[in-house]
Point group: C2
Chain length 318, copies 2
DNA sequence: GCCAAAGTTGCTCAGATGAGCGATAATATC
DNA sequence: GATATTATCGCTCATCTGAGCAACTTTGGC
């Protein structure tokens, strides 16, 4: 397009989008036929001069969702817009809201829903509306936060989700990680615990988040791991944890011994499940999100625009 | 509007603006009539959820221009968009470009154009296209930069503007401010200088910028004023200078004695002129822009979106 | 300078859309 | 609970707009 045409397309766009003039009227003003005006407007759009943003906490980015589905093979992708967000917390809240929306609209409604715990899932539980589903049994799929933390964040998440769906919550009464393998095995042998774990393995759907591998991990906060242990895991390639288990960029368990001492569903069980919803948002979680998506650990990803774009860019530059 | 309708309007907007679906198709997807979809889209717009930006260096903000004209009584207002600008310099360059565009499209073409000097006007001169007008006599209306500066910025601006219009430049061979009133009067008595000043007074149009009152002023850089003098002027209410003369928020000369020693057109002559184009851009110039516009020192203002909004907000909250 | 190829223009026509208007539903008022 | 009032809905119709096409203009190649 010629230089003067580019300028004209901008003038036309101003009159069209800001002044709500018709292409006819613009034609009169700029001394052009209305067809020329139409073409100029089309070229302004094609050149990317017209940026249309939907500014709303519930706004999603459908084109990014589609590209994500196509390039990763995800069953579904929910990408919340970051237009107009001023803080990371706001973005994560939007993502949690979107996850709650997705859960609510899920058909068929899963009778048993396996969930992990964490800040993100807690946020999701708060965003769910009373009566979001008619009776869902919520099962914890990995060991809970220790008691030196604000008691029962994990339990409260599960209970809230279940309660709001007029369902029941089945809690996993176990720490996340045991110091000794023998203790962990003894615990798993307990009939109650074994029952919960079996229920978790047979859930129809899973909802979980993931944590980045750094000192801010909930597993560090809860006292299960030390900062030094995290550093060691990172040195061995860990990018983050899923249901309490640290994985590398290829989705492999970083420390098999540690993994053995971790209570809950195995990564492979997640990989085989037909419906696994991962909720991952935030700038620091791009790496773990990538690991989760690339290695088939989820079939549905709920995330934010920036994380989604990061995933797409990697795909484009292999 | 109800809460669910608001959400629906966002879903509709996503499909309409991001996926280019027709209102009919959206109706099928969301189980609504196409009229309902149309209404939802209209309400999304009305609620400000749809933000349309024209991202282009030459983009203007016509609605703001109109509001400025209406609320200030300016003959014309040119407001450049700040969408997508990353630096103050870029915004100022856009404003200069817009001023050049305005000058080029000006009808009738002024035979004599009085100009001041400064970074902004120099920028305007560079953005003008060769042959922007068929013969314009450009006259300097205030004293030039001193010679210890990069020689001839002021002269070069005038010459460039004139040259590109196949016209002639009449320079004012005088310092901006004299130390002694007597010297200034003697200078003005000189036939050549007097002739230039007379020519300047009779120009058909004026183009000038304005400087904020702080240590970065061109008058300080050029050695005419010290930082202390500026501080003093500020203490006495100065918000900036127009054609070398410091004014307060009410458009009054702050220091009459200093004003007397300043060579060039008087503020009042500017106020009486039928066509005076002020080019003012940048966050620090909001106050001086306000003083210029509120006190009728210009009939046309070329500025940036942020400055324009600042002017409008003051109007709304008197 | 001539011709082919590519690009641009004005136009027809069908599809998309907003304004306006009765009909219907929801809400408030007594 | 009946009625008045308001809001919402589905629709018609006129207008707006984009796709497609033939005519025309420009450009590049020889």
């Amino acid at each position: 397009m010629s230089d003067t045409d580019e300028l004209l397309s901008i003038r036309a766009a101003e009159l069209y989008y800001e002044e709500n003039q018709t292409q006819d009227e613009i034609g009169v003003i700029l001394r052009l036929t209305r067809w020329k005006v139409g073409r100029l407007l089309a070229s302004a759009k094609a050149n990317g001069f017209i940026r249309i943003e939907i500014v709303h906490p519930r706004a999603r980015r459908l084109p990014i969702e589609r590209r994500l589905r196509e390039s990763t093979g995800l069953t579904d992708a929910i990408v919340v817009s970051s237009a107009g967000v001023s803080s990371e917390a706001e973005l994560q809240s939007r993502t949690a809201q979107a996850a709650a929306d997705y859960l609510t609209s899920l058909r068929p409604i899963p009778r048993t829903l396996g969930i992990s715990w964490g800040r993100t899932l807690h946020d999701v539980s708060l965003h769910l509306k009373e009566g979001w589903a008619p009776g869902v049994n919520v099962v914890q799929i990995n060991g809970g936060v220790s008691l030196n933390q604000r008691t029962g964040t994990a339990a409260s998440t599960a209970v809230t989700i279940a309660h709001k769906a007029d369902g029941s919550a089945t809690l996993l009464p176990s720490p996340a990680i045991f110091e000794r393998l023998e203790t962990k095995q003894a615990m798993e042998a307990d009939r109650t615990v074994a029952g919960v774990l079996a229920l978790g393995r047979n859930a129809q759907a899973y909802l979980f988040s993931a944590g980045q591998a750094d000192a801010n991990s909930a597993l560090v906060d809860s006292g299960y791991l030390t900062v030094e242990q995290i550093d060691d895991l990172v040195a061995r390639g860990a990018v983050g944890d899923v249901v309490g288990r640290y994985i590398d960029a290829n989705g492999r368990i970083v420390d098999p011994e540690l993994n053995e001492r971790t209570v809950g569903i195995q990564i492979d069980q997640l990989r085989r499940a037909p419906l696994t919803i991962a909720v991952i948002s935030g700038n620091k979680k791009h790496a773990i999100a990538r690991a989760v998506v690339r290695n088939g650990l989820c079939t549905v990803l709920v995330t934010d625009e920036d994380t989604a774009n990061a995933l797409l860019q990697e795909k484009d530059t292999p």
